[in-house]
Structure formats: C-alpha cells, structure tokens
Subunit: 468 residues, 4 copies
C-alpha cells in the first residue's frame, strides 16, 4: 500500500495553491503548511487501517469500505472517533470526506440511471476502484459561494455564484464557479464536486457533479491564513495538527465525460446533496465527539491545577462538556444501529444524524465557555512564549503563575487552554461547528421536513375520539 | 395466563388505602380510582406480551424476561415505548418497575452471598419465580421521606425518616418508616422495598430490602388527590389513563426471612440503589420518549388548527419537542447497545442512561412551554365543559373559537393542550420529570462520579509532551 | 370616595355572566367568584390610594393620575408593585388596565382629531372624568378571538372573528364580535374596547374603539372555571386572591356616539393598539416583579425546611428567581426614567418596556422549575387536605413529612409550593406569562421593528473607512 | 490642561515594561504598542471632557468628579458609554478604573479613620487632588495571582501569591507579590493597588492598599502578546484601538507612608474590595453596553450583505444582541437611579450593578455566536489580506465573495466580523467578559449574599397564616 513518503513526494505536482498572497511551489516544506501536509500524510502511518476487501479482491483502506449494514457503520464511526484521538483531537479528513461523497454518488447515480437510462453509476464505480486501489486522498467541494442568499443560482447577478456547466463538448464539459470551505483540498489527490442544494429546472446548468485531479488546469486554491500558528508563538496544538481550508476556484475547467457524474439532471441534485450531507454529518458527529476530549481533558487538568476541582460550578462545567460529547456519541451509535439500506448501501439514520448535528451546532460554544470558566482570566493576559524564554521574566512568570501545581507545568496548560478556547483556533472552530456540514438553519429545516409527525397526530386523534 | 378480570377481582383484598381522607374499601369501582385500576389492568389485555421462557419453562410476561444481552435490552426499550403509546402516552408501570428492582436484586444478592456467605440470591430467585409464574404486578418503594436532607439516616431527629429494621426476630424482621412516591402501589400485588442511597456502618439498620404483599398488616397507603379529574371537568386524557402515587407507610410491619433480601449489609446498599436506578432510568427514558408524542402530536395539530403551522417560531417549538424525544430515544438505544454484563445479567450502560435521564430532567419544561406557545393564551381562559353543554353558551363558544378549523374541533384540541401543558396534570408531570428516578442533582453527581476522565487527560498530557 | 361595600353592592346590576354553564345572578355571594369579587373590592381598602388632582380639582384614585413626567411613571410603577404585594403577590387590575387604555386613547384621539378634524378627544376626556370622579373600575378588552391566524380580519371565513362595526346609526354604532382574555370584566363597571392590531383600509370596519357599561344589553361574559379552587382542596393562595378571565361577547351591542372613540380611522388602529400595549406592558413588568416574591419567598423558606439552603444548586435556583425579578424591575425603572412625552403625556420607554416584557415571557418558567427543584418530588405526591383532616392519617403524614422543621409547618409550605409551581394555577400563570400583553412573537417583532440600528451601523462604517 | 502630546512624551520615563521577551525602552514608537499608547492618549482629545469643579476650584477631567447623587452617576454612565463609542467600541480605561478605586478608597478610609483613629483619608484626598489637578492616567491593580485557589493568602506554599507587606519601616513599607490582569498599566502615570478579597486576621499582611508611580523601582510589567495584530494581517479594529494587559510584579517595592492607604486593617479589606468592585462593575456595564454596538452594527450590515436580513433566524440573532445591550443599559440606569449615599459619596446600587454584571458574564458569548450565525462559514475560511493584495487572486476573491453587495465591500465586513467573533480578539474578549471585574461565581456569591430575602419570606408567612 501507499506510504507516507510516497504520498508526500506526490504533492508538488503543479497544483495551483496560494497562501498569504504567494503561489506555493513546495507544499511539503513550507514552514507553515508542512504541519498540515504531515497531518494529512499521517493517515498512512495508522495501524490497522487496511483490510482485504472481497468486493475489490484487494487490500484497501477501511475508509473505502462500502457500508452494507449496521456493523459497518458502527465500525466506521469508531474508526473516525479513534483516528481523531490519534491525531490529538484533530480530525483527519483525507479519506473520510471523499468516501462520504462516493457512497452518496453510488446511490444517487443508480437511481438516475434507472430513471434516465444514463450510465453514471459505472463511471462512479470505476472512479471508486481507482481511488481505493491506489489509496488516494480526496476532498469534496460542495458549498458554493452563493452570492445573494435570497436568490436561486440562476437568479444571481453574477451567474457564477454556483458552480455550473458553461459548455458541453463531445469529450467532456467545461465548468466555472467557486466552492468555499474545501478542507485539505491542497493535499488531496482528487477533488469531488457535488451540488450544494436541490435545483429546479431553471437551474439545470448548476446540477453538476464530477471528479478531477487537484492539479487540473484552471483549478486554483486560495488557502486561509494559519494565524493560530503565525501570530501565536505559544500555540501548541496547531503546531502538531491542523487542516487547511481553501476557496477552490474552477476557472473554465475541463472535465472528461468519464469523470462527470451529474450533468443537468436537476431532479437528483437535492438527493445527492442530502445523501452526502447525511454521510458527512455522521462523520462529523464521530470526529467531534472525539475532539471534545481536548476540552474535557484540559478542563479536568486545569481544574486540578487551579485547586478548584471540587467546586460545584467547575463540576457543572465538566458536566456540560461531557453531555456534549456523549450526546454526539449517542447520535452516532443510534444512527448506525438504525440505518436505511438503499441500493444495497447502508445510510446512517438521517434523523439521529441530524439531531446530533444540530446539537453540536448549538452547543459547541459551551465547551469553550466552560473551559474559560475553569481556567480563569489568565487566558486573556498570559505572557508570550518569548517572555518565558527570557531568563529574567521566566523566574517571575513561573513563580507567580503557580497554582496547586508548579508554575512551569501550569503555564503549559494555560497556553493550551488559551489556544483551545480563546484564540484564532477557537474562533475558527466555533465558526465551523456552527456552519460546517450545513448551517444550524439548514439542519433544522432538514430535520423537520423529514420528521414523521403523523404517528403522534394519530395518537391524539385517537385520544380525542375516546374522550369520556 | 392471568387476565384483566381476575386481576381486578383480586384487588379488594383488605389492603389499607386512603383517598381524600377516606379508607377505600372498593378500589375497583371507586369513581376516580377505577380509571387507574383499569389502566393497570390494561396490561393484561396487551397483545404479544407473553413469551415462553426457557429458563422458567413457562409462559411469562416479557417484563419478567431477564436481559442477557443488547438485544434483550433493545426489546425491553421498544416494549416500554410501544406500550406507553398503547396507553395514550401514559406509562404503565405495573410490571416494569418491579422487574427493574428484581434484576438489581439478583445482581446485588449474588455479590453479597459471595462476599458474606449469605443466601439472599436464592430468596430473590424464588420470589422472582413466584411473581413471574403468577403474572403479578409489583411496585417498588425506594425513596424515603428523608426528613432533614442535610443529615444521614441515623442522624435524624426522628429515627424513622428512612425505613429501618426495628427488630430482628427468629422468623423475620420488623420494619418501620415510610416511602414517598410509590407509583400504583395500591394496585400492585406485591411491594418491593429497597434502600434509597448508600449507607455507612452507622446506618446499618437502614440497609434493608424486602418484598411483601400489599395487604400486609401495617402497610398503609395514602394516595395523592387526582385534582386533574376532580377539578377539571374538561380533562380528557386523565379520564382515560393515570397512575396513582402514594406515601406508603410501614407501621411496624413484619417481614418473614424468606422475603428479606438485605438486612444490615450496609456496604451493598449503594450498589443496590444504583443498579435499580440504572434499570429504572432506562425504563424512564423509554416511556418518556413515547410520552413526548402527546406534545408533538397535539402541537402539530394545534399549529394547523390556528393556521400557524408555517411560522418559524412554531417550527422552532416543534423542533424543541422533537429534539427532546429523540435525544431520549438515542440514549436508550445507546444504553442498550453498550451494556455491562454482570453476574450474567445485562445492565443498560449507565453513562448513556444518565445522560438521557439528565436531559429529560432539564428539558421537559420545553415540551410544556412550546405547546403553550403554539396553542395561545386561550389555554388560560378557556370556558369549562359545562359551558359548552349549555346550549346558549355553546353557540357563542363554538362560533368564536374557530381557527383554521371548525370551532367544535378546535375546542377539543384546546382542552387537551390545556390539560397537557397548563393544568394540575402538567404540574404533576413537570415535578416528576424533574425529580422522579432521582433528582437533577443526584443524576449529575452519579454521572460525574462514574465518568472516565483519564483517557482525555492522557491525550492532553501527550500533547503537552510533544509540544513543538 | 367610593368604598368597598358600595362597590360590591353595585355588582349585581343585570350584567350577563356565565360560570360553569350557569348564568350567575349573584356575583358577590357566589361560593367561588366571591373570592375574586372581594379581591377586586380590596382596591377600595388600600391606604394612600387617593390624591387631590389639580387638573380635575378633585380627589381621585392615583391610578387615574395622568403621567406627565418620569416621576409620575416611577410612582405608578411603585404603586402597582406595592399593591401587588398587598394582595399576596396577585395583581389587582381593577383600575390599572383601564387607565392604561385611557392614556393611550387620550394621545391617539388628539392625533386623530388633528388629522381628521374629528372630536374624539373630547369624548375620551369626558369619559375619563366620569370614571375618575366616580372612582370606577374598568376592564379593557383588546385581544380578538382571531380565527385563522394566517388571515387578516376581513379575510376570515366568519367575518366576526374581530370585533367590528356592523351598523352606523344616527345615535351610535352597532358592534359585533368577541374579545378573549378580558380580565376581571365581570367585576368592572365599564368595558373599554380597542383594536388588537394595525388595520388596513379593507379592515376599516374593524378599526373601532369605545366604552360601555358592563351591563349593556348584548354583552355576554363567559368566565373560565376556577379549577385551582374547585379541584384542589389544598390550595391556599387561590382562596385568598384570584382574578377571573372571560370571553366577552358583543352580540350586536349598541354604543352611543359619545362613547365611540374610533370608528373607521384604520390608520390609527395600530398606534392605539401599540400605545395601550406599551402602557400595559409597563404595568405588567411592574406587577410581575412583585409577583416573583411569591416564588422567592417560598423557595427560600422551602430550602430551609428541607435543610438544603446551602446547596449550590439551591442557591442557583434562588439566583435565577432573583435575576428574573430584578431584570423586570430594572426594565420598569429604565422605562420610567426615559419616557417619551407625547401630547403632554408621559409614555414609558417602549424599548425597555419590551425588553422586560420579552424577558418575562421567556423566563417565567424558571420560577416554576426552580421552585420545583428546591421543593422536591413531594409536590407531585402530596396527600390532600382531607387526608390531613383525618386523624388517623394526620399523625402519619405529619410525622413523615417533617424536614429540618416540624411536619405540620412543612406541609403548609408544600401545599403552597405545589399551588405555585405544579397546579392549575401555575399552568394558568405560565400561559399568561407567555401570552398575556402580547405573545413572545409579537414582542419580538415590536422590539426589532422599532429598534434604532442606524447608530451602530454608522460606527461600523466609520471603522471600515478608517481601516489602517 | 494636559494634552495628548505632553502625555505621550511623558511615557518613556524608565518604567520597566516587557513585551515578547524584550524590555521596551520606547513605548510610544513601538510598532505594536503605539496603537494602544495612542488609544490611551486619545482621552486627551475628547471634547467636553473638562469641567470646573467647585470642590477643587479647578478645571478637572469629568472622570475625577466625585459622584454625589443619581445625576452624577447617570452622567458618569453616559460619559463612559459615549466615550466607548468614540473609541470604536473599545473601552478607554485611562481615568475610569483609577477613579473607581479613588471613590472606594475615600469611603473606606473615612470608616477606617473613624474606627481606628488613623489618618488614611487625608492621604487619599491628597493623592486624589494631585491626580485630578495634573490630569493623570491611573491603573488599578486588584486581582492577585492567587496560587492554589482552595487556600487563603497565608496558607499558600509560596507566601507571595497575594501582594503583601514584607516590611514596615519608618519611612514606608516594602511590598512584594504580583497582580494579574492590570489593564493599560504600562501607559498609566500611577498604579493604585488594593486587596482582591476580604481578609482574616491571619492574612493581615495582605491587607494593603497604596499608590505609586508606574516607574517606581521594582515594578515590572509583562504585557500580553497582541496576537490579534501580529498574527492577523486582516485585522481592522485592533489596528485602531486596543488596551494592553499585564502581569504587574512588585519585587520588594518601597511605598512611602503618604501613599499607603491600608496597612494591616484586615477588617476593611473586604469593604474596599467590594466598593471598588461595585464602582468598577458599574463602569463595566456602561462600556460593555456600548461595545455591543460593534456586534449589532456588524450583524445588521452583514445580514444585508448576505441578503438574509428578513430571515427569522437572523432577526432572532439581532434580538439576542439587542437584549444583551439593553439589559446592561437598564442595569446601569437602575443602579444610578437607586444609589446608596455613604460618607457623602454616591455608590451605584450594588444589586442592579451585579445583575447587569452577571448578565454580561453569562451572555456575552451570544454576541459572538449570533454574529457568526449571521456571517456564515466564510469567517473560518477567509483568505488573508496578502491574498487580496495579490492582483491575480484579488479578481477571483472579489468576484466570488460578492453577496447582495459588491465583493470588495463584503470582504471588509467579513474581515471585521471575523475579528469580532472568530479571532484572538474575540477569544480575549470572551475571557474578559466571563472573568473581568470578578468571575461569574464571585458575582453570584456577592449577589445572593447581599440580597434581601426577608420581605418575600414575610409575605409567604402572612399568606400561610391567612390560609382559608
């Protein structure tokens, strides 16, 4: 199987990446981005990540195992949970998001083919085999930049606010537009593009899905600045693991037909978008429950460091964190135990997935405020790492920042607690926890639209009829 | 198997029951209490409630099936959920709470016997077989009246604030004290008594568990008034189903040795109390998720009746109700899927059970406030049933209380919504949702005490060590 | 000035009142309603309620003092707050709501007269002098029954869903319709009717305001059942003080012109509705802050009775109650200190009034859940008063319900705590706190519509321009 | 009066300041710190900041006006509110916190002098006149570093965890210890030091208050790193205004007797700490209500930029922000309107001050999460300023980040929204809003300890006695 080094050495392949206003030629050795490159590459170092797949007659990554039943989904949940812990509480998206999209594409294209007589499924399957057998990393680009949120794609002033087909040719299609929030795309071998929402007939040009290599001509990726490392010399976690977000631009990009998975069948855009969302939200609640341990662990250690572990308000803070983690866990377990099997593939229960998703959107800030409450005001006023490296200052800082433990040990905890709850990193997280994998509002709409209210209504009708 | 009539005809057996200041001789035909007697008896009319138990070589009620694995627990959850729906969203406790106590007693007595050389398990087993084969109903009396909450049992001014052994004799023990909040005890064949908390050596006399027939001499049961029927002529649900709560007094009651399951082994009082709590909280999250449908169904129908089903605040209200129900469901499923097997018996996962329990304690009021928000101020000012029966008033009331539906249909919905959210019944429910099966505070303590913080702390220690 | 007895003796004047399906001839001696009659009459027993008004050259009730400045509003707030405490935490609406409407009518009619050349103000002024000099009680009927909430008045299937003018005659108008939630109307001398919302031209017939004696022909009042007294023999507070709500029907009622204050000038319906809402919400936050003392006092005493006054969760409960009370107080003080003076009359600041209003709508349930949390599960399972009157039971109940205080004292506290937080009364309160004086949704809309966002936006524009 | 330049030119006077591990000789021209120096100096450019004080027979800054009544407190509130708006929503602490301490010292020392026969008040008064007449800036250092929070000052392993008197000499005292969270101390002319809490007799050495020039020998100030400027090239607000926090170390610092205001009178440490807290919390709710406009203004503009200003969830977000701002406003107004006059000085009502304080502690995160919710996920993935300065990238970014407004305008708003809600700045703010001016826990304790529960309890006793 592919190993870490062969993966890393493949990255500088001409892909067009910008960081802080510069085109980056060497992604692997860039002072900041290399941290994230190594994070991505870390997936190839994981133990027990490979299994022999009878369907493909090949060893492949477990991420590419097509879930056929509850157990497969439970395994996938546990894998994502455990891998997140391996990477210090930071999600490793390299093969997760891409496989989420592949499963959604398999189910959707089977239905399109039946309905329209197309041959999309074959293409998806072929792409899947290529990816799995070559152990590739994938990103999925879904969220369009959207322009005026009160207007549909075809109603926008600038027609490129959603990725669209600008030309259909004999050999393929030309697409144009931009996707926001594509995570780790700069380290992915391939990019899968899918629609962000349901489409109407007028928006047919926007009903498009495809996959292309990251270094395809016309693909331009502008990465967000990693201020949490560059500005904060005291950061700890971000120097070990982070993932890069980009805006990914498709400037008249050519996609050959065998990589096109949807091209105008607007009636299926919503299904594809929703199926991916369900898989990816299942992934999200899995990694986020693991990620919570960063807060629980730091909170618990910090409480002891401050000598306040028995205060009831501190216990209340810890409980809030635990409730957050375990409600996510419960939603993942319940979604896996009650799947829908469609086209032979197991889909996590969308109700429980969305309940967990909505809970994380609405409550992540409690991890942050609880950790701040435990840690104290020192998060706002902590001297820098440079101060601690100055011998004169060091003696004062270490003397005066002791708690129920030594100053030098408490300082490290403070630095980490600050990074987790009062920094660019926490701001970035808070935003992604509210918006990633669909906004709060989108989750609420999805949850209510699909909820079966009829059973409950019928019980009430029965009661009213049997009134005594 | 036992049927409804033979059960009902057995109730007037001399048990000492008081209601509204009167000793009740005929429980079955009492104008108010008969509703609850029939509710209890309804368990014998349920379809598919019987199975052939290989352990006992006998047909028995599914409630008495000893859970051996995840599937047994999932079945039990689904049974309680479905039976609650059968009884119009009102829990039927008749065989549930007693079996919860029996499972806890089986596990605990095995451990006592091993540790102390006693023979308690045999007695529990014999009692269990008697109950199961005769298809009896059981209540469990756990919560002592407690007196001054800042003092332990033996420190109380009046020593009888917790049920205690006042005499050990050759043929048995004499017990004294009172248990609060015993549900449906007046309709139970037998009462199981267990400790309410962990005990220290000084409190040995209070470490007592036993089972006795409800009509045992010295047992006195004072029932709460059913104001929701007596005062509210417009009540609907309470005329169909309710459960009676009592204070159950043990006035120097004799218990023969073969019905004594704990008598001084104070070290095991806490284990027994906790095991019962875990089983019974699992029961609670199961019936409460079903009970939520009362609010969801009424809320959804009322929204349509008022013509506001598309208002975003109404949708928000419905979502709150749905989140409540499904988080309980998720906790039950997760608790069943991740059991602890102890002494060969499957115990629901206590972490997930307590997370669900804590969620219901803290959020039940949202069902009430959401339903009120949807229904409107009319819940506070609705005329009585007598008004609607007066022909002159009727025409006005029906004319003026129309919404998006006819007045006479909306009136019934209003009456039910009022009963569910703005009445004695809702007050009773709100109290039990906060306090039953252990108070919020007790749940928090249990949850945090047993939580594994070490894994998370270790991840943080690892991060601090690998700081770059 | 008028005294209690002359007021009471004036009540049985032929007004058409229904209670529990019966037409009530004697309001003063009716077993249930007399409590509320005496509550209403209690206003005439208050000390210091009269002052010499220079405008009218007469002694009048302070409720009828037209507020001219901040101090008048602060005095009015303090009067309502203190009177509510006098009546055991229960609001006395007898002259409050009517004067709220009179102030709103004075301001609005001055503007109509200026704009339309009408003479409404003179009529309002004359009615005001009649009311003030005769020391009358008034109700205000605002909330229409509304029918389908998604439709405007003129769009309803039944045109009478909002009170409307069905005929204009030489001597006056004929009105038809019904108002919900009219508090204490059955004990009021006069009823003021005003619109519930802004109206468009199509709804002109619904733009109507007037005042008539309660015993006017065609006025029919159907009172809500007082289940909190009739069903709950243990109730304490409701046997001392309560206010009756009615649906008030106008079945082709004649109103002479000198009592008509708005008749078709639809452009002013919104202003009148809003001005009344502002005055009445100011009244509401004033009495509700006083009413909170019922919960704070009972909570504090109950905490001591249970021996848990030092538990942190109990202190948290008390704090929640205190925050509720004081935020209401703060909003009333701020509204009084920052009034708008319009047409020479001081209007409480509508922003602060609405902030307080919205806080009480959204947080009243915390008073209830906090008191339940402190009191314990006994609220759900307390025996009835009849049980305590039975000598056999009494000894057991008093023995076993002791806490850190004697049983017989704790029992009374439990009964009161139950009535306040787990009864029909608390359900009625919870509904009115959410809906009375305008629903949560209505308050939110009002608050945001009138909020000045421009200053804040301008600061941001300035910052963006000065970007460095 | 003093002007901006003379103030700035006085700053480089040998005071010992460290930033990022370096001793800073030139505070005024330091690339980062100069922003904050100019912010501080900005106070001298304010219009209408001077008044003629009859007590001092001199023009002085309004900050040094001793409040004698409600109006003085209302004026002070409005001044702080308006000045905060002047400085782009960022508090200017330069003369505010020092005057808060001076008022508290005046009241406390009068009481000590009466009680102990000391002459402290005279010294405070002399210092006050010196400060006021010379128009100085002041910092106040209150919060000790505290060590093990479960131990009192004299119980700590290291005795210097709270600032203490290590020697009393003829000419003065020697103090040692460190104060955390001293805001803008590096730009203050003088530092006032007061105790952080009540002291017992054993902690007498820790009962110490004094004032010294910032450049006093032995005073060392270590500033927090301004990561929000250094790391985030796109920051906007922090390039205009910020305040520097330091840990301020007292390394055997000599204080002459005429600058010592408390030296061992431990019984008064608590009073002094609390009085300062009350004044400073009044200041806090004043500036924080103004600061909210940053979020309200950005939220409102961003909603329009995204085309979602009419979505109900966006309106809900705006309402949350408005409620936050106005509840703070209400608490300040109510505290000013209901002062306590002690020793001739008006103290803001501590109940309302603490209610507002507690509200800001507990709800500030809603400003952040609401702004994130409105702004969208782009806050997490926004390219850097350097990217926008690269011409190739610029065209793409501006094209694709348009909303309902042009891309280049929306980009600026996004940058500001990110800074306010998802950056080091928002993390710093969130921490200070939770902990500054006393933690949540401290506020709760203070509020409950001083609350009058007796009135409410008496009303309940009255009700129970009049039970019918």
């Amino acid at each position: 199987m592919r190993d870490k080094n062969s993966y890393l050495s493949s990255l500088n392949d001409g892909r067009e990446v910008y960081y802080r206003g510069k085109k980056i030629e060497d992604l692997v050795n860039h002072e900041i981005l290399k941290i994230s490159a190594n994070h991505s590459a870390g997936i190839y170092d994981l133990k027990d990540r490979i299994f022999y797949d009878n369907e493909l007659n090949s060893n492949i990554s477990k991420y590419y195992k097509i879930p056929r039943n509850s157990n497969d989904l439970l395994d996938r949940h546990n894998m994502i949970f455990n891998h997140t812990l391996e990477f210090n509480g930071v999600f490793n998206i390299s093969q997760a998001i891409g496989s989420d999209a592949l499963f959604a594409l398999m189910i959707t294209t089977k239905k399109i083919d039946k309905n329209k007589g197309t041959k999309y499924f074959e293409r998806v399957r072929k792409f899947y085999e290529y990816v799995a057998k070559n152990d590739l990393t994938l990103t999925t680009a879904q969220t369009d930049v959207k322009g005026d949120r009160s207007k549909r794609p075809s109603e926008q002033v600038d027609k490129d606010m959603y990725v669209r087909i600008v030309e259909k040719r004999n050999d393929g299609i030309i697409v144009k537009g931009a996707k926001a929030h594509t995570t780790q795309s700069i380290f992915a071998d391939e990019i899968i593009v899918i629609p962000t929402r349901a489409m109407t007939e007028k928006d047919s040009d926007y009903a498009v899905a495809f996959a292309i290599p990251t270094n395809t001509k016309g693909v331009k990726m502008i990465a967000r600045p990693i201020d949490e490392v560059e500005g904060n010399s005291s950061s700890i976690l971000s120097r070990l693991d982070f993932e890069v977000e980009t805006i990914t631009i498709f400037d008249n990009v050519f996609v050959p037909w065998d990589r096109v998975f949807l091209a105008g069948e607007y009636e299926f855009a919503g299904l594809l978008a929703n199926l991916f969302a369900t898989y990816h939200r299942f992934t999200a609640i899995s990694y986020r429950s693991a990620m919570s341990d960063l807060f629980i662990g730091t909170g618990s250690l910090m409480a002891k460091a401050n000598g306040i572990q028995d205060s009831r308000h501190v216990r209340e803070d810890l409980l809030n964190m635990i409730m957050y983690k375990e409600i996510l866990k419960m939603s993942a377990v319940s979604a896996a135990v009650n799947p829908v099997i469609d086209e032979g593939i197991a889909i996590p229960n969308s109700l429980y997935t969305n309940v967990g998703k909505l809970y994380t959107n609405s409550h992540f800030h409690e991890l942050i405020t609880s950790l701040i409450d435990i840690s104290g005001g020192i998060l706002a006023t902590m001297p820098s790492k440079e101060d601690i490296e100055n011998e004169i200052e060091k003696q004062y800082i270490e003397k005066y920042l002791r708690g129920a433990i030594e100053g030098k040990d408490r300082i490290k905890l403070i630095d980490l607690a600050k990074e987790l709850s009062a920094s660019n990193l926490s701001g970035y997280w808070l935003t992604t926890m509210i918006h990633a994998e669909g906004s709060i509002e989108a989750s609420k709409i999805a949850l209510l639209r699909n909820y079966n209210l009829q059973n409950a209504e019928e019980m009430i009708m029965k009661i009213l009829k049997s009134e005594k």
